[in-house]
Every structure is written in structure tokens, then in C-alpha cells.
């Protein structure tokens, strides 16, 4: 037969108060269940992209607050500034300014990026010293000069490229 805790949980589940937590509690995991939101009913949220939430922030109102809500039904010119702010705070949790406030996260992000740049730089330096073989002899300035002369002599890319930038009459690079 069903155990007593399971029966109690069953009635509660029927009332729609508990959700999945009820099933887990009935199976003896009650110590490990955190409070869960019931996602099947409308929620309040502070979201920049959807400015009007589905429900007001304060659902249950005290007597004073109920009176204020009644006053709100009349002309808004009768409301003082404090009353308007109070009504706002009843409806919403944070203002747009509070919601969109800047943080200091960018400093951490930028710092992390630069740290990795530096670390990579160290690795590259170590590679150049300990890993790379000696450069080929064709990369010496002397060889490169002879190469440039050969490229100009054979009129390499003479239209818009390399040799087009050399002035053959004056024997110098074009200004």
C-alpha cells in the first residue's frame, strides 16, 4: 500500500502547490531538494529586451498599498512624486538604470586577455631560441640585395608590381 508520506505528498501535488519536488520528496530525497520555481505560472523578471513583465513584483499588497492602488485608478495628477515612486516599486523590482548598471567585469576580461598575450609571447620567444633551426643563407641582406637586383633585371611584375616601382632611367626607386 502507499506509505503515509507518499499519501500526504499526493494531496499536496493535487493542489498544484508542489511540482517535481513532490515526486522526489516522496521517494525519500527530501533532504536534497532545493526550493524550485513553479515554471508553469507567469513570472516576474527584470529584462531589458521585454520591458513589461507578466506579473507585478509585489503580488500580495498590504492595506496601505491597496489604498494606493485604488488612488491610482483615479487621475494621476493627484499622485505625489513619492506615491508615484512607491507605485513603481510595487510593480517593478529594478529601474532600467539599475538593471543596466555597468560593472567592472571588463577590467577582468581585458586583464585576462593581456595575460594570455604575454604568456603566448613568452612561448614564442622560447621557441625562437630553443626550437627553430638556423635561418637559410638566402635571408642575409647581401643575398636579398642580389635577389632584388635580379628581380629588377628580369623585369618581374613590371605593370603594377615590383618592377613598376623602380625608375629604370634614374636607377632608383620611384618617389
Amino acid at each position: 500500500m502507499l506509505s503515509l508520506p507518499a499519501l500526504c505528498v499526493g494531496t499536496l501535488a493535487r493542489r498544484g502547490v508542489l511540482g517535481a519536488a513532490s515526486i522526489r520528496a516522496a521517494h525519500g530525497h527530501s533532504g536534497h531538494v532545493a526550493t524550485q520555481e513553479d515554471m508553469s505560472v507567469p513570472h516576474y523578471y527584470d529584462r531589458r529586451s521585454i520591458p513589461l513583465p507578466d506579473v507585478p513584483y509585489h503580488k500580495e499588497l498590504g492595506a496601505e498599498q491597496k489604498a494606493l492602488k485604488e488612488k491610482e485608478k483615479g487621475s494621476w495628477k493627484q499622485l505625489s512624486n513619492e506615491e508615484k515612486v512607491a507605485l513603481y516599486r510595487l510593480q517593478f523590482n529594478q529601474t532600467f538604470a539599475e538593471m543596466n548598471r555597468p560593472s567592472n567585469e571588463w577590467k577582468t576580461v581585458l586583464g585576462g586577455i593581456f595575460l594570455f598575450f604575454g604568456f603566448t609571447g613568452l612561448i614564442v620567444w622560447w621557441q625562437r631560441v630553443y626550437v627553430f633551426p638556423p635561418k637559410p643563407h638566402t635571408l642575409t641582406d647581401e643575398w636579398k640585395a642580389q635577389q632584388v637586383k635580379r628581380m629588377l633585371d628580369m623585369r618581374m611584375n613590371p605593370i603594377q608590381g615590383f618592377s613598376a616601382k623602380w625608375d629604370y632611367d634614374k636607377n632608383e626607386w620611384k618617389k
Partner: protein, 228 residues
Amino acid sequence: MAHPLQLGFQDAMSPVMEELLHFHDHTLMIVFLISTLVLYIITLMMTTKLTYTNTMNAQEVEMIWTILPAIVLITIALPSLRVLYLMDEINNPHLTIKAMGHQWYWTYEYTDYENLEFDSYMIHTQDLPNGYFRLLEVDHRMVMPMESPIRILISAEDVLHSWAIPSLGVKTDAVPGRLNQTTFIITRPGMFYGQCSEICGANHSFMPIVVESVPLQYFENWSSLMLS
């Protein structure tokens, strides 16, 4: 060949390459325009004070950004097809040369009149004469007459290779057991360098191609010299 830190294409040494350069300019301009537009829209989106971003009706803009890209694509496709068909036009080549790819050198056969065949190996860095180009020079260059339509038949003896010369706008795969044909006209005298363009083993980067384009007289002198 390319000069150090070169970003763009090498100058065109054949009419087809000229057409390719112009097509590339046209397409790159379109690409730059689109990229600039997108970047501008991104900066607009990142710096707006407007916050409501739920999906809204957008029929008109959806029409625009469907039709306009279609038009852009047609604008790119028409010149592209034109150049493509230009490359395949029937011409009557004055000369036919066979280029055979091996691991890891090329063999050129000029067999129209006599039987001229030779191998073309890369010159190693330690053996380079002063001022020569590392990994680009060969011991026997492929000499061709300028301003003549030339047909090259390309194949391979062992694995896939590819015969490519950027300044002539030529890249043709060398497939063993298959003859691929490419034709071009070289408009200027000079030396044009290329490298094997299909991975073919350990020395794939070390089997370059050098075309030396000379007036017909010099070509005839060279071929008689090579035969003897």
C-alpha cells in the same frame, strides 16, 4: 614570382589572367561593400539606446534582404561564367608540350617536331647561384615562345600533382592515367615561377616550375641546343 610581403596577385602575363584580375577586382569590391555594410549595422546595433528586441513583423525588409542578395549573386555570376567560358575557347595552338609530374620533379616533352625530353629538378638551397630564388629555381627551365598560343598536356607518373603558374593564371591537376589540357598565350618575355599545387609526398614543396618566355628565334635556338 611574388615579392616579399606581397598581398595581391602577380601581374598578368597572359590575357586570361588579365580577365581574372578584373573579375577579382569586381568581386572583391562587392565583398568589401557588403562587409562594410554589415560592420556598420553591427556598430549601429551595439550602440543603440533602444531595448525592445522581441520579434516583430518585418515583411518589407525581409523582401529587400532576399531580393538584393539574389541580384548581387547574379552580378557576380555573369562575369564569372564569362571568364570561365573564355578559358575554354577553341584556339589553335602553335605548340604542344607535355608536362609529366613525378615524385618530386617535372618532365617536359616537346615532341611536335623532334623528340626533346628533359627533367626539371629544383636547385637545392646550398647550390643556388648568388641572388637566385630559394625553393623556386630549377636546373632546366621550360622555355616557350611568347605571343603564341600554347597547349600544355599535363599528367603524372605516380601520384597527384598540379602544374600551376600564378602569373599566367594556370593551375591544372596532374592525374596519373589522365591527360588534362590547358592553353594560354604568354604576352611578355620573362621568367614565371610556380610551384606544385597538389600534395604529393615529402618534397611536395620542393618541385617548382619555371617558364621562360622568349621570342620565337631564341626558342628555336634553345630547342636545337637542348637536342644536341
